[in-house]
């Protein structure tokens, strides 16, 4: 007995002073010392096929792998496009109906044509699909089922090869988009613009159906879209109907990533799908990284692409640096060859709690801030800016924040007999409700101040958004001594009375006004949220009935216009006001488009629609600004939405994670980032020393109770023997 206690003490003595290896490291301990980034994903990306993928979590992965023609400059603000696989920005020319070249401001513009000149040094990642035999036919083009027997992953193919990027790969991607069976989310939208796409789509969809029935492969090289022409190996032209300046932004999205025909044929072979070898799971791109492992149940691994073309860290001149407000240390790598990080390991973390704890322990290099963790992480400094709490800054954690080009709003269904309509009383009812929704309180309670109360649909950082008095919604706010102040609840009550509901009681029926709010409330936090929402309406004496469903059904209701009040959000596709204002365009109303439209509040105002048609094709100018302001005044008055807020995204990074600069538009940002691996190893050791005392106490307890039990047993044995005798 004594010996054991002595040993335990010796054990303690040995262990305590040594900076032992940590026990709780969830990663490969060797990789921590290398240029490996540890990151997490909360939902396995469902589709990595650029033709369908449209989610942020999917783009976070394929952004590193695929390269559309253009990209957003990593550092420049306001957001600016630059060439990625092109030699320069696309050349734009205009034509009239007869095909004559015309001027930009000509009234007869019928088509615009984008000419893309590709770089010649861009190569794909190594992939078995590119392997060709001596005759130039595909080596793995006709695999039998036996040959596939032993294949589980792409690494099981003996040979791999690469090839240069050509213009026809981009054309191929647009053709794939046209095939309805590929479920492209932007096909119907693009068919409105790209010349010949609609007809081509109808045609190719039928062909694809036919081929599926006869079990033949579909080789899209044999078919061509009228408006998409491959002029040479490295030149492509795309013809657009009329004028659509926003098209250039689409060229930076992954729907326009190059698709090599070899890989398309490769993945169409029989038996590939059963091995999960499809576009959805094994992307083939020219980007800085390629996907090595895709296990949606646990982890995804990216590795640096050895064939990646020469790209350098962007450098800015002093003037650009100042206007974009960029700290100098972000430019210390300027001109160096990308990428820096050699490997990225994404681990599945479905819950925010373990993610946050692991970040604090140093096992993730960056993290968002959930609202639970917020007041642990962030303090508001005297000047009103957000700063890290002392606990975090002592750890060397760095805070990065930016306002998202998004809006979360509460919409009224304008087709609803009570809250909808354009009569003066309906307008006043909506305005009263708008004033009563205390967004500032909402942001404070549920968002931890990580948001800005919206004054209209357009998010900050987008052309058309104004700060200060000019950008204030005068229906809901007052401008008092240089500050925006929400109008008092008395004003709202007066408006409500004028609308015919004094104290929330309908003058017509004598009953309390009861409104229905549709929500998708299933999470643990939602109860508080719903309570809050009810309170806001109760301030006016209105009773709010909340109908919560799952997101699916909620969407369905909205699309059938079966809602009264609901909350929704919008995340901009590109930094242009058109991408926000079209949410309120009458032509996009759900009721006008059989549920397909994006204007879910069914707002229709002819004046607004006319202005929208005008600003849509204008380039950014004071005239455009003026027209947009007119539109904003209209919607503020009509109040089809309670404007809600624009979320601010805050991210925390550890000291060893370099070159991190939030960019809400760009997705391919991994290649710019760098890691100081030595510092990481040191800090992880420092923060994660196991606490041994409880363990020692536990062992001691075990030993002691064993001892007592033994004693007890001996006594009992004696007693039993006595009894038996």
């Amino acid at each position: 007995m004594k010996m054991i206690i002595l040993k335990v003490f010796l054990f303690m003595m040995i262990l305590e002073p040594l900076p032992a290896d940590v026990w709780n490291n969830p990663h490969d301990s060797e990789k921590i010392a290398t240029q490996t980034l540890f990151s997490a994903f909360s939902m396995p990306p469902k589709r990595l096929d650029p033709v369908v993928s449209y989610n942020a979590n999917e783009w976070a992965i394929i952004g590193q792998i695929y390269e559309p023609p253009l990209q957003y400059n990593y550092l420049k603000r306001p957001y600016a496009l630059e060439a990625l696989t092109l030699k320069e920005m696309p050349a734009l020319t205009y034509y009239d109906l007869e095909g004559r070249l015309v001027d930009e401001n000509d009234a007869h513009i019928a088509f615009s044509e984008y000419r893309l000149r590709l770089r010649e040094d861009v190569k794909y990642q190594d992939h078995p699909a590119f392997v060709k035999d001596a005759n130039g036919t595909l080596f793995y083009g006709k695999l039998s089922e036996e040959a596939l027997e032993n294949i589980q992953t792409l690494d099981d193919f003996e040979k791999q090869a690469t090839r240069h990027l050509t213009a026809s790969d981009y054309a191929y991607a647009i053709k794939r988009m046209a095939v309805r069976q590929n479920h492209s989310p932007i096909l119907d939208n693009m068919a409105e613009y790209i010349v010949g796409l609609k007809a081509f789509s109808q045609n190719i969809t039928k062909i694809a159906e036919e081929k599926k029935r006869t079990k033949e492969v579909l080789d899209l090289r044999a078919y061509n879209i009228a408006g998409v022409k491959v002029l040479s190996d490295h030149t492509l032209s795309i013809r657009i109907k009329g004028k659509y300046p926003q098209f250039i932004y689409w060229l930076s999205m992954y729907f326009f990533s190059p698709i090599p025909w070899e890989a398309d044929l490769f993945y169409q072979q029989k038996g590939m799908k059963g091995k999960n070898l499809t576009w959805n799971w094994s992307p083939v791109g020219t980007g800085a990284y390629y996907l090595v492992k895709n296990d949606p149940s646990r982890e995804m691994v990216l590795k640096a692409n050895p064939n990646f073309h020469d790209e350098r860290y962007p450098s800015l001149n002093e003037e650009e640096r100042n206007s974009s407000n960029i700290p100098r240390e972000l430019l210390s790598d300027a001109g160096k060859k990308l990428p820096f990080i050699k490997e990225v390991i994404y681990t599945l973390e479905k819950e925010s709690i373990p993610l946050w704890n692991k970040f604090l322990q140093g096992y993730y290099d960056a993290s968002g801030i959930s609202s639970e963790a917020f007041d642990q992480a962030v303090q508001i400094s005297a000047s009103g800016t957000m700063d890290l709490s002392s606990e975090m800054s002592q750890k060397g954690i760095v805070l990065k924040g930016s306002v998202q080009p998004s809006i979360f709003y509460m919409a009224f269904n304008m087709e609803d007999p009570v809250v909808g309509g354009y009569s003066e009383s309906a307008k006043k009812l909506r305005q009263a409700i708008s004033i009563a929704q205390n967004q500032e309180e909402y942001i404070s309670i549920f968002m931890n101040e990580r948001g800005i109360a919206a004054q209209g649909p357009i998010a900050p950082g987008i052309f058309g958004h104004l700060d200060g008095e000019k950008g204030t919604d005068k229906v809901v706010y007052e401008w008092k001594s240089g500050k925006r102040v929400r109008k008092s609840i008395e004003v709202a009550k007066r408006l409500l009375a004028e609308a015919g509901y004094p104290e929330g009681i309908s003058m017509k029926t004598g009953k309390q006004l009861k409104l229905h709010y549709d929500a998708t409330a299933t999470g643990p936090d939602d109860r508080a949220l719903m309570d809050w929402r009810r309170k806001q309406f109760a301030k006016l004496g209105i009773q709010l009935v909340i109908r919560s469903t799952d997101y699916n059904r909620f969407q369905d209701k909205v699309r059938k216009a079966k809602v009264q009040i609901f909350s929704w959000g919008w995340n901009a596709d590109y930094p242009d006001p058109e991408n926000f204002l079209f949410l309120l365009y009458g032509g996009n109303a759900v009721v006008n488009t059989n549920g397909a439209g994006i204007n879910s509040s069914n707002y229709q105002n002819p004046e607004f629609d006319k202005l929208f048609d005008e600003i849509k094709i204008m380039s950014n100018s004071p005239q455009r600004q003026e027209k947009i302001q007119k539109m904003l005044t209209l919607v503020r008055e009509d109040a089809p939405w309670v404007w809600g807020f624009h979320p601010k995204s805050l991210a925390l990074t550890h000291l060893w994670f370099k070159n991190v600069f939030p960019n809400a538009m760009a997705n391919n940002t991994l290649k710019y980032k760098r890691i100081d691996a030595k510092l990481r190893v040191e800090k992880q050791k420092e923060w994660n020393q196991p606490v041994l005392l409880p363990l020692v106490l536990f062992v001691l307890l075990l030993v002691l109770s064993g001892y007592f039990l033994h004693k007890l047993y001996l006594n009992r044995q004696k007693a039993v023997i006595k009894q038996e005798r």
């Binding site: 709690i353 229905h516 109860r527 508080a528 009935v545 919560s548 059904r553």
Partner: protein
């Protein structure tokens, strides 16, 4: 003016209570059953747990009477306005409903738990803990506690005396002496002690809840004590109403399978084997999803959020009932088979006694102990299941007060630094005491009633 408006579950609870009372009256006429119950309560643990269970039941019932109070109407020509539905418990705790703070505060705290941004008159912003709005400003915790405990003591004494008079009439004081010495026929002393303890704790919490948030406040400043007490109803209802739904199904199907045999037996066996072979959570999840759709398609079924969540609770109870009858039915079938082989039953059959008479006279009485044991055993399991189901997202309505919802939210709170522990703690304590009492009580019942447990 007061308008009594009962929710669906209220009605069911009261039906159940009256059924229980009726049942109690019936068994009190059978000396054999009466003796059995007497044996059950001989154990002081059983007595104490029964007292605790009654205490919980009391809160459930308080929370199962819903009223609408009249409002002063704004105009002459408008009809009488009523407030939203309130239960008796809500009325007792109306000060807690009204006095919501802004956000988290610890038990008995005077300031908020987290710092907020304050802009002072100089326009500087700082972070500090804001004072709570609805707490006592002077430091009188001790004096108030003493008063509260005294009130609690007097109250419980009063309750005990009433009980004694009701039982013994004039002989109450003699009985009192006996009880105090522990010489009474049943361990009443334990029961009274438990009662005194419960009543005193509760009055202490209640009286102090006027000047403090005794168990802290949650994210939006709601009082945690109030939440926990409101959750009692949800937990108890799921525990008892589910069995109410499941019992008739299980008894009818189990008995008829055992008694009639043949194809009836085959069909019923097929039914319960099929149902029980589907993993429970999946079946419940699917059921809950169906329910949600049905409710969405029929928004006219309910007028307020309260009615909506009540209906959802009702459906959840029905779904749990439908999925949980199989075990009991299997037991009942086996037992019925056994009983119908016994000589006097076969003899009765031979004499041409009707099947219903056989069921009523011979079978049901002999199945009573199995039914009773499974009811009390299921109770605690169901209370615990509610929490898990809420975690999976197929539990009660998220707007409903329930321990499951509290735990679910607490998970996020435990990740904070410093931890917000009181929600989890309150849910833990309230739930633990209920389930512990139920488990101990069911243990005792099993020991007494189960013929196999003679040891």
């Amino acid at each position: 003016m007061i308008m009594l408006t009962l929710l669906w579950t209220d009605i069911m609870v009261w039906i159940l209570i009256f059924a229980l009372i009726a049942w109690g009256w019936v068994i009190s006429r059978s000396p054999q059953v009466k003796k059995q119950w007497h044996t059950i309560f001989k154990s002081s643990i059983a007595m104490a747990s029964a007292t605790v269970l009654l205490f919980y039941l009391f809160f459930t019932l308080l929370d199962s009477v819903h009223l609408r109070l009249a409002k002063t109407s704004p105009g002459q020509n408008t009809e009488q306005q009523y407030s939203e539905m309130l239960s008796l418990l809500d009325i007792i705790f109306s000060h807690n409903i009204k006095n919501t703070e802004r956000t988290y505060s610890a038990p008995f705290a005077t300031h908020e738990y987290v710092k907020s941004i304050v802009i002072d008159e100089n326009g500087l912003t700082t972070q500090k803990h804001l004072p709570l709005k609805y707490v006592s400003k002077d430091d009188d915790l001790l004096s108030k506690s003493i008063v509260a405990l005294a009130v609690g003591f007097v109250l419980s004494l009063f309750l005990i005396l009433i009980h004694l008079f009701w039982r013994k009439g004039r002989g109450a004081f003699v009985a009192m002496k006996k009880v105090l010495k522990g010489e009474a026929d049943l361990p009443w002393r334990t029961a009274y002690l438990t009662l005194t303890f419960l009543v005193m704790t509760f009055t202490w919490l209640y009286i102090l809840s006027y000047s403090y948030h005794v168990l802290g406040t949650d994210k939006v400043g709601g009082d945690v004590l109030y939440h926990s007490l409101k959750s009692i109803r949800t937990g108890v209802l799921i525990g008892i109403l589910t069995t109410l739904i499941m019992l008739p199904v299980a008894v009818i199907l189990g008995v008829s399978a055992g008694l009639f045999g043949g194809w009836v037996d085959d069909v019923i066996q097929y039914l319960y084997t099929t149902l029980s072979s589907i993993p429970g959570v999946l079946l419940i999840a699917a059921g809950v999803l169906v329910m949600q759709v049905t409710m969405d398609n029929n928004p006219t079924w309910f007028e307020t959020t309260l009615e909506r969540s009540d209906l959802r609770l009702l459906f959840l109870i029905v779904i749990l009932g439908v999925t949980s009858w199989t075990g009991l039915a299997r037991l009942l079938r086996a037992e019925t088979l056994k009983i119908s082989q016994i000589e006097f039953v076969t003899a009765a059959k031979a004499f041409g006694v009707g099947k219903w008479t056989i069921i009523r006279r011979h079978i049901i009485p002999n199945l009573m102990h199995i039914i009773l044991i499974s009811v009390v055993l299921d109770f605690s399991g169901l209370v615990l299941a509610e929490a898990v189901l809420s975690y999976v997202g197929v539990g009660v309505d998220p707007t409903m007060h329930s321990w499951g919802n509290m735990i679910n939210q607490a998970r996020l709170e435990m990740a904070r630094e410093p931890m917000v522990w009181w929600s989890l703690f309150s849910a833990f304590i309230f739930m633990f005491i209920l389930v512990l009492a139920a488990n101990l009580f069911s243990d005792r019942i099993q020991k007494v009633l189960d013929p196999r447990n003679d040891t």
